[in-house]
Each structure stands twice: as C-alpha cells, then as structure tokens.
Symmetry: C2
Subunit: 232 residues, 2 copies
DNA sequence: CGGTATCCGCAAAGATACTG
DNA sequence: CAGTATCTTTGCGGATACCG
C-alpha cells in the first residue's frame, strides 16, 4: 500500500475533511458517485450523463476513484460484454452524504443558469434523497417506473425504499410518466388523479399504485430558496 | 433575486447535488466551511489556516459563499474592531454533512503526503465529528481545552456536546495538552494516566476531568484504512 | 493589518480528433 | 464503445503592489 502520492494536488492537511476532498473533491468526482448510486454504468453512459466532462477528465477521475477504493471496474454481466464501473462498499458509504448534500443544494436551485440540463436519472436520485422515512408500506411492493432515461425499479418494504436503474424482474405495478409530470406530482403541484385522466401518466390500469408510489416521498415545499440579505 | 449568474462555471444540471457543488464545490470552499464551524474568523485567520490558498482565491470564495447565503460578513465584536466571517443558518446546515465527510475521509488519511500540515483546530473539529452520541454526562460540564492553536471550550450536557474556539467564560476544568498527545489519547494509543504523570497533559489538578473529557468521544480504531484490490 | 487587484507561470479542465 | 493524445482555455498558486 501507499503506492506513491495518489493525490496530484493534495490539500496536505491532517484532517478527515481535507482528505475526503483529496479523494472526491475534484471537479466531477461527486457527480460520478451520484450517478453510480443507482447502479453500475459503463464509461460511455457516465460520459453521456455528465455533459461537457471530456473523456480524458472522466478517465482521470475514474482512475483516482479506483485507486482510492471508491469505485471498481468490473466485467459487465453477460449479455453485454464490456466494462462497468460501480461503487465499492467504501464508495457506497458516501450515499447518505451525497443525498444530504443534494437536499441541501436543492434549496439553491433557483440560482441555476437558464440553460441547465435535465435528466430523469437525477430526479430518481432526488426521490431516494427525499424518501419519507416515517412512511411505511402495508406490504412489500415493487414498481417499474418508466421515464425518459428508461426504466427504474422502486422497491418498498416497511419503511425502507431502494431504487435502482433498470426494470425489475417482477413488478406489482408499472408507472410511466413524462419526467416533468412526475416531478410536478412529487412536489405537490399536480394531483395524480388529474394527471391520470389527462393521460400524462399511466399506471398499469391501476390508479392506486401511482398514489402509493408518490406517498413514499416527501419533497420539501417549493418556496425553500435561501434568502441572502439583499446587498446594495 | 437571481441577480445574475452567480456560478462562474456551473455544472448547469437540474439536480440538488450538482447545485450544491456549484455553491460549495470549488476548491477550498468546503474547508472554509469546516474552519468556520468552530466559530467566526477573520480573513487573516482563515488564510493562515488554509496554507497556500492565495488571498485572491480566498476573496473569491468568500464572495461566492456570501452571495449564495452560506457565509455572512459581520463587524467583529467590540474589543477587536474589524470584520469576521461566520456561517449563516443555511451554512450551519452543512455541519452534519461536513462532519460525515470528515469521518468518511479519515479512513483514507494513510494516503496523505508526508509533508501534510497539522492544526489543532482540525483535531477539535474531528472531536465534534466523532462525538459519542450514546454517552451522557452526569451533569452539565464545561472544559477549557488549551492546544497549540489556543483555547477551545467544550460544553457537554446530557448527550449533547458543542465545541467552539475561544476560552469559556467559566470552566469546570482546564485541560492543556500538546496536540499530538491529545490525539494519541483520543485514539486510544495513550493512557490518560500515563500522560498526566509524564506531564504531557495538565488537567487543572483534577485528573478525573481529563478522563471525563475523553469519554465524550469515540474515535474509530486505527486500522481503518481502505483496502483497494492491489493492482498489477 | 484587512482586504482587493493585477500580473505571471503552471497545471487542470474543455473540446475534439484519433486509435485499439 | 472505451479510452488516449493533442490543443486550447481557464482557474489556481504565488508574489506583489495597492487602498482603507
């Protein structure tokens, strides 16, 4: 161990926070972790989800995250043939931190530039972050959720919820929605009943499944922007 | 609001995590927050605690953190005259996140370069991060803790612990130690009794106060480095 | 002393073309 | 599709000079 100096531009501070930033503080690194939270991804899929990263930078980040034990390269499961990147156990320990960071940062989203890009994958990650821990489902339930990025599987049991990319092997319900419609329902701007009758959402012919799905999540009220004492 | 585009090089992603990084993802920003967690600081003190930051960069970071509502400039309390920077309520909401990040990163500290710098301030921040929530003190207690960076006050009541820079108005005990000695006691490498008799620590003439102080914290075992499947 | 502005050298990031 | 090589641009570190 201690091959060499893994950190190219280390803060060189004997401090856990500074060391954490040596590992995941470079530009893009935390977003790579975010995208891997929903499951393994190939190099190209990572690049596609991180507009303007530049493949050389992505390579450098993955290399550092690999040598620091956050991410692992693995042969892709059979049909695919190829390589995927996934979080190691150490990397998965970042999940609660990244989700807390996302909840915190969501209150500054009113400052985003107008040209900001949308991925349904990120909405799904936000669902995980805003999962309502005080809500318990009556019986274990699996949803297939189809959005613009493709299918996701949502599994709930008691007060636990897990979400991952890809369709579940067997779903109790299949929900399909335009991203923006799902988002508006999650933040309480749109009634599921209205969306269903408008045809913006389909719920497997079973409207209750959509309501049950939405009940798992507690997105904050929309007015939550930060007020900065307005300057001169 | 929405003065302009506050983020010079925004990720421009509609995602809470990406937005959080737009705010505090620049180099040094999180370390500024870390240093402000223990109390307000002046520009010079911040610069001194962040070796090699460069004053222009520090100015730029503070400016962004101020416009985003994370940090506030305030006139220093009376004796001093001048300006101090402190966390806003929004900025303080980062504290649990930064501490969790520090706990996570502390397990990669074996990768730090050999020339890494030590500040007792960071050890104190680690104490806060590794505070043992399952430990309750019998009665409310205040310690004055003297380290190389100066005095800190540690206040414990029931299972709550708060730490800030500066001496407390009234302390139940005054503990004084060389940084490294305190660290070794916290990670269990050095018995407080032995340190006291060696004179490496003084405890106000009351040895029990030191033991009580150490009992507040649960630093992880030292072997906690991450194993990366050793390559080639 | 606290803070800002400016210049320079360098290293990292963005963009894209190219190769196994 | 996965990644490397190359070129340009931008941000950072360091020094220094300048205002309050």
């Amino acid at each position: 161990m201690q091959d060499d100096a893994p950190f190219t531009r280390s803060y060189a501070q004997v401090c856990g926070v500074a060391t954490a930033l040596d590992v995941i503080g470079d530009r893009w690194s935390i977003l790579i972790v975010r995208d891997l939270m929903l499951g393994p991804l190939r190099f190209g899929d990572l690049a596609a989800g991180l507009p303007s990263i530049g493949t050389n930078t992505l390579t450098a980040r993955l290399k550092l995250l690999e040598t620091t034990g956050v991410v692992a390269r693995r042969a892709a499961p059979l049909p695919d043939r190829g390589t995927v990147y996934e979080l190691t156990p150490y990397g998965r320990e970042l999940e609660p931190i990244v989700m807390a960071l996302g909840r915190w940062g969501s209150r500054s989203m009113d400052r985003l530039p107008a040209n900001a890009v949308w991925h349904s994958r990120w909405l799904v990650a936000a669902m995980l972050a805003f999962h309502d821990e005080s809500h318990a489902v009556a019986k274990p339930t699996t949803w297939a959720l189809w959005l613009s990025d493709g299918p996701f599987s949502v599994v709930a049991e008691a007060t636990q919820v897990s979400i991952s990319a890809g369709a579940p092997a067997k779903a109790d319900a299949v929900v399909s929605a335009r991203d923006e419609v799902l988002h508006r329902m999650l933040i309480g701007q749109l009634e599921p009943g209205a969306a269903l009758s408008d045809g913006d959402v389909t719920s497997d012919g079973n409207p209750a499944a959509l309501v049950d799905l939405l009940a798992l999540f507690a997105f904050p009220p929309v007015d939550s922007a930060i007020d900065t004492a307005s300057a001169p």
